[in-house]
């Protein structure tokens, strides 16, 4: 009798185990429901359920999304970001994204490289990311992630990328150097303070400011040889850091031929009593 009960039990166990294996979601349908515009109560409920179901799938859902990352659908990219940042831990998410760094589709590679930057450093992927720096349409995302991972090997490329034509690439390079935080790169960032693009020179300034007052000496030295917007940027940075050399500032305030520099020096010395008031944080 016991063996008969055992057979029945084994049968049901095998049945349910098999049942577990075959419940693979139809991701196309699930993603459509999760992403479509919820303009009826029913669709909103379906959407909420679909999202819950996706998030419960964890890394599998991330893989399903990445397999469709080539698709032109802004909401799909937003969903991928949401899954990475809020629902899938690095242990399971990083391997999934790493698999797509060599995907045939460029957009998929870009998204994978970008999202990896929201996970902790994974040394195994660094060579692939470094290789992406040579590709114009992929290097921004790769550089961002390399910066977030503080990959020292990326510094040289980042410094070089401070001089390319693309403004967004120069901004990314400033941020990467800022994240890596090597003082040896400060001179490159100080040079970027003279960039022709407003956002580049200010991103560089923000990167330098993150180093704190320790940069005072380098800035003061650069001040002597700088001109125009770069000089103004340095004076203002010194002011923001409250590290402006008093005598030099007074000299600039009094006698520099550039009215902007005179005002910057005035402000760096006197702050709220200067030509304008300011609100922290400036950068």
């Amino acid at each position: 009798m016991k063996w008969r009960i055992g057979i029945v039990f084994a049968f049901f166990a095998a049945f349910f185990a098999y049942g577990d294996e075959v419940v693979v979601p139809d991701y196309d349908a699930l993603l459509y429901r999760a992403l479509r515009y919820g303009n009826t109560e029913q669709r909103r409920a379906e959407k909420e359920n679909a999202k819950k179901e996706l998030f419960a799938q964890g890394a599998d859902a991330l893989r399903a999304v990445m397999e469709r990352a080539h698709v032109e659908n802004i909401m799909l990219q937003v969903l991928a970001f949401e899954i990475v940042v809020e629902h899938v831990p690095a242990e399971t998410g990083t391997p999934v994204l790493a698999d797509f760094l060599n995907a045939p589709d460029e957009q998929t590679r870009r998204i994978a490289a970008y999202l990896l930057g929201f996970y902790p450093r994974d040394d195994a992927e660094i060579p692939v990311l470094l290789a992406m720096l040579d590709k114009e349409r992929e290097r921004n995302v790769a550089l961002r992630t390399l910066g977030k991972w503080r990959v020292d090997e990326a510094r040289s490329a980042a410094r070089d990328l401070l001089r390319v034509e693309s403004e967004r690439t120069r901004i990314t390079a400033c941020n990467a150097l800022s994240d890596i935080g090597n003082v040896a790169d400060l001179s490159a960032l100080i040079e970027a303070l003279g960039d022709s693009a407003f956002l580049v020179r200010n991103t560089a300034a923000r990167a330098i400011e993150r180093q704190g007052k320790s940069v005072r000496g380098l800035l003061a030295k650069a001040l002597a040889s700088s001109v125009g917007v770069q000089k103004r940027q340095i004076v203002r940075l010194l002011g923001v850091l409250e590290a402006a050399p008093r005598r030099e500032m007074k000299r600039l305030e009094r006698s520099d031929s550039n009215a902007g520099i005179r005002e910057d020096a005035d402000w760096a010395l006197h702050h709220d009593a200067g030509p304008w008031i300011w609100e922290k944080p400036y950068y």
């Binding site: 196309d28 993603l31 459509y32 992403l35 479509r36 515009y37 919820g38 303009n39 009826t40 909103r44 469709r68 698709v71 032109e72 659908n73 802004i74 799909l76 693309s166 403004e167 967004r168 901004i171 941020n175 693009a197 407003f198 956002l199 200010n202 991103t203 917007v229 103004r232 940027q233 203002r236 009215a259 902007g260 005002e263 910057d264 030509p275 304008w276 008031i277 300011w278 609100e279 922290k280 944080p281 400036y282 950068y283």
Partner: protein
């Protein structure tokens, strides 16, 4: 002897009277030249003339007319100085003093030993000086005070010109100069005397208004430069990289303007100038230029209809009809060319796509039925809906764009221009025609019937090429006044000369709407009601829809794609006068989709605009409605850009009410404009509004004058998000700005958002002071800032942020709040 004496005395009296009459006219003319109301001298001369003339002229009526004109000019004068000062943001006291200064200066001008010129100079100087002194005392700034006082001076000049013209005109009229009399009679026949005076006044004021408009003035540019200089930036730095998308199609000027943001005001100025000039040809030129269309080669008409066809029509009418028909033939040829590369299936697919979201085809059976009735096969509707349900949007977007690009947009625009011109010319020619038939006249043509409604006909519901209504309260419904190239007439026009009419759009397309065709409705008089169950009222969908309503207090009510809406075409609604009410569910009141130019222009009256109440903004603000209106344009992200959506209101105290996406806003490679002239206006919006660019796009709101109130919540009042540009410019008056967050000169995620208030005592209230009032942001994961600017160039102002009056405040992530009155605008720098 006695009789001889009496006769001599009589002649002497006559002679003296005539001499006095002539002298009075001359004196009047010279007085006018020094700004004094010399018209009254001419009125006095006219009174004398009553007793002298034996020819019956001048009559008592002539004298009354002259007196009326003179009174009107005096009233105009009283307001001119004030207007000149107030529109530049001056105080009421300065306005009053400008007027008094002008009078005092003119009298003191006798001390200057140059006749006439001395008085004129005295008047100008007096007006300028008193206005300047008052404003300088108030503002403590030479530049701003000069600017305002100069407004008073220009207004004085305008008034002098007006007085000289009126005095001279009246004198010559009295003298019975044939040409003058002919001109005056002609004018009197066509328009009222009041209109003449108003025209003079507008002409004069235009002089005073010179340089005031949508573009930055020199002084404003200087102050902008000053604010940017404090940020170690120049205007060129506003052009940081924003054109980073890769749409398959987008207007080139929009891409350029993303990186040259002040260009947006230049395009706004072009719109404004077109509105001021009030000539349809300017709108067509603007559309051609800004939709970047090529001129097209001449077409000829080979089969003009013969005059004999217009049986039963009076000769004048027959000629006008023949001329109109020639235009219709040419427009038809152009439409042939416009659509020759499109298959019927493609046209149906495009139509279905336009209405898919606008009328919620998926969920609303009535919308699907209406579309099917309009000529789209059920199978194609279902195919389009199925395509739109794919996760990958590329195939359906590609299909739409491929089909759209087969449209010859140049030929379509030209067809619209030709047809609108033909209808307008017809209306002008027959407007004075009085011999209208008692019974309805009807002629069949290959393009549809031409119908002249007889007396007593008060309902018309057929598809027709042209319907003419000489004047009665009429209801138009069904296919009347709409063009549908899918299933019936693709040219349609209504010319209605009088009556309070009802225009009902109970089919897919309402009056003045065109789908693959051109529709024109001209309504000259009466308070009309325009109602559309679906779309219409100045809508061009792969077509051109044009409506002009010349008078009356009108009511406009529609669900979507209405009141100046266009996709791949032009949709125009022009309302010339009256206090009007506009209501649309969404996508209207100056709305544009792909390569469209949607325009709503209201020239006068206190108007109310409402957009919303149809589709909830479920995913962002579930308790708010999407508006997508009031100067809004949208592209299909990331596949293609949109067009130009513009709402212009020239005068009156207006109310603009909307929820999400409205009031000078655009989304993805598009441009939205809301431009308002004079009047105290109220603007209300919740999210994305009041001069806002979203996702690589451009939005501008400009209010030229008045004490205005702006209410918004998020990303409003000169704000931009994601590589975009948004600006709000208020040129005068004491204004109030209220917002919750990310507003009032705020750039977000690598954008430029600016708010410029040129004058007046203003209040800025932002609930979140860290994201309102001249402030950038960190750029989120992009980690690079934006530029946010708030410039207040006059008056005593209050801020909820740390900004204070009379200072320049540099704000985080590249923002500046610049209150000119306080910043060390040192006198030496001016």
């Amino acid at each position: 002897m006695w009789e001889s004496f009496l006769a001599g005395a009589q002649y002497a009296g006559y002679a003296a009277g005539w001499i006095a009459l002539v002298l009075l006219c001359f004196v009047g003319f010279f007085l006018a030249m020094i700004g004094i109301s010399g018209m009254w001298m001419v009125v006095a001369a006219a009174v004398i003339g009553l007793f002298l003339t034996q020819s019956g002229r001048p009559t008592v009526l002539d004298v009354c007319v002259c007196a009326g004109i003179s009174a009107a000019v005096d009233v105009t004068e009283w307001f001119a100085g004030m207007w000149g000062v107030r529109r530049r943001g001056g105080s009421r006291l300065a306005a009053l003093m400008a007027s008094l200064g002008g009078i005092g200066g003119a009298l003191l001008g006798f001390l200057i030993p140059v006749p006439v010129i001395g008085n004129l100079l005295g008047m100008l100087i007096g007006s300028f000086l008193l206005a300047f002194l008052v404003e300088h005392r108030r503002l403590q700034r030479v530049g701003a005070a000069t600017h305002i006082a100069f407004g008073a001076t220009l207004a004085c000049i305008a008034v002098v010109i007006l007085k000289v013209c009126v005095t001279l005109g009246m004198a010559l009229w009295l003298a019975d100069v044939p040409m003058v009399r002919w001109i005056m009679n002609a004018l009197l026949k066509r328009v009222s005397l009041f209109s003449i005076v108003v025209a003079f006044a507008i002409g004069g004021f235009a002089v005073a208004a010179q340089g005031e408009g949508i573009e930055f003035s020199k002084q404003e540019r200087e102050q902008l430069d000053r604010a940017l200089q404090a940020m170690n930036a120049t205007v060129a730095d506003l052009g940081f990289a924003k054109d980073l998308g890769e749409p398959r199609s987008a207007l080139k000027w929009i891409r350029e303007t993303l990186e040259e943001p002040l260009q947006l005001n230049r395009v706004g100025q072009e719109l404004w100038d077109c509105a001021q000039q009030d000539d349809a040809s300017n709108w067509w030129s603007f559309a051609r230029r800004r939709l970047e269309l090529e001129p097209i080669s001449e077409l000829s008409i080979s089969d003009a209809i013969t005059p004999s066809v217009w049986s039963n029509a009076a000769p004048v009418l027959a000629d006008a009809l023949m001329q109109f028909y020639a235009g219709a033939q040419l427009a038809n040829l152009l439409l042939d060319r416009a659509f020759e590369k499109l298959t019927s299936e493609q046209m149906q697919y495009l139509a279905a796509s336009a209405f898919a979201s606008a009328l919620n085809l998926e969920d609303e059976k009535a919308s699907r039925d209406a579309l099917r009735d309009a000529g789209v096969e059920q199978a194609l509707i279902e195919q389009m809906l199925a395509d739109s349900k794919q996760l990958d949007e590329t195939p359906s977007a590609e299909m739409l764009l491929s089909a759209s690009e087969r449209l010859d947009r140049s030929a379509l625009l030209e067809a619209g221009r030709v047809f609108q011109g033909a209808v307008q010319t017809f209306a002008e020619v027959v407007r004075d025609f009085t011999d209208w038939p008692e019974e309805t006249l009807r002629w069949e043509t290959p393009f549809g019937a031409i119908v002249i409604l007889g007396r007593g006909v008060n309902v018309f519901d057929e598809a027709a090429l042209l319907v003419v209504n000489p004047g009665s309260d009429t209801t138009y419904r069904g296919a009347a006044g709409s063009a549908n190239g899918l299933s019936r007439n693709r040219l349609a026009a209504i010319v209605d000369f009088d009556g309070d009419d009802l225009y009902v759009g109970n089919e897919l397309l309402g009056p003045g709407a065109a789908l693959f065709g051109a529709a024109v409705v001209l309504d000259f008089n009466g308070s009309d009601t325009w109602r559309c169950d679906f779309a219409g009222t100045g809508a061009g969908l792969w077509g051109v829809g044009w409506i002009e309503d010349a008078g009356g207090n009108d009511i406009y009510d529609a669900r979507a794609l209405s009141q100046g809406a266009a996709i791949a075409g032009v949709g125009v609604l022009l309302d010339r006068a009256g206090n009007d009410s506009y209501r649309v569910g969404w996508q209207g009141q100056g709305f544009a989709g792909w390569m469209g130019f949607g325009l709503l222009l209201d020239r006068a009256g206190a108007d109310r605009y409402f957009a919303g109440g149809y589709v909830l903004d479920y995913e962002r603000n579930p308790d708010r409605y999407l508006s997508l209106s009031q100067g809004f344009s949208i592209g299909q992200r990331p596949f293609s850009g949109g067009g130009i959506g513009a709402l212009l209101d020239l005068e009156g105290n207006d109310v603009y009410d909307a929820d999400v996406f409205a009031q000078g806003v655009s989304y993805y490679y598009s441009a939205g404009f809301l431009l308002d002239g004079s009047g105290h206006d109220r603007y209300s919006v919740h999210h994305y509004g009041q001069g806002c660019g979203i996702h690589l796009s451009l939005g501008l709101l400009v209010d030229v004058a008045g004490d205005d109130v702006y209410k918004g919540s998020t990303l409003t009042q000169g704000a931009a998000h994601d590589f975009a540009v948004g600006g709000l410019m208020d040129r005068g008056g004491d204004d109030t700005y209220i917002a919750k967050q990310n507003s009032q000169g705020h750039g977000m995620n690598n954008s430029v958002g600016w708010l410029l208030d040129a004058a007046g005592d203003d209040v800025y209230e932002g609930r979140d002071s860290d994201s309102t009032q001249g402030i950038g942001n960190t750029g989120g994961t992009r980690e690079s800032g934006s530029i946010g600017l708030l410039l207040d160039l006059g008056g005593t102002d209050r801020y909820s942020s740390p900004g204070v009056n009379d200072r320049l405040l540099l704000r985080p992530n590249y923002g500046a709040l610049y209150d000119v009155n306080s910043v060390s605008v040192r006198e030496g720098e001016e």
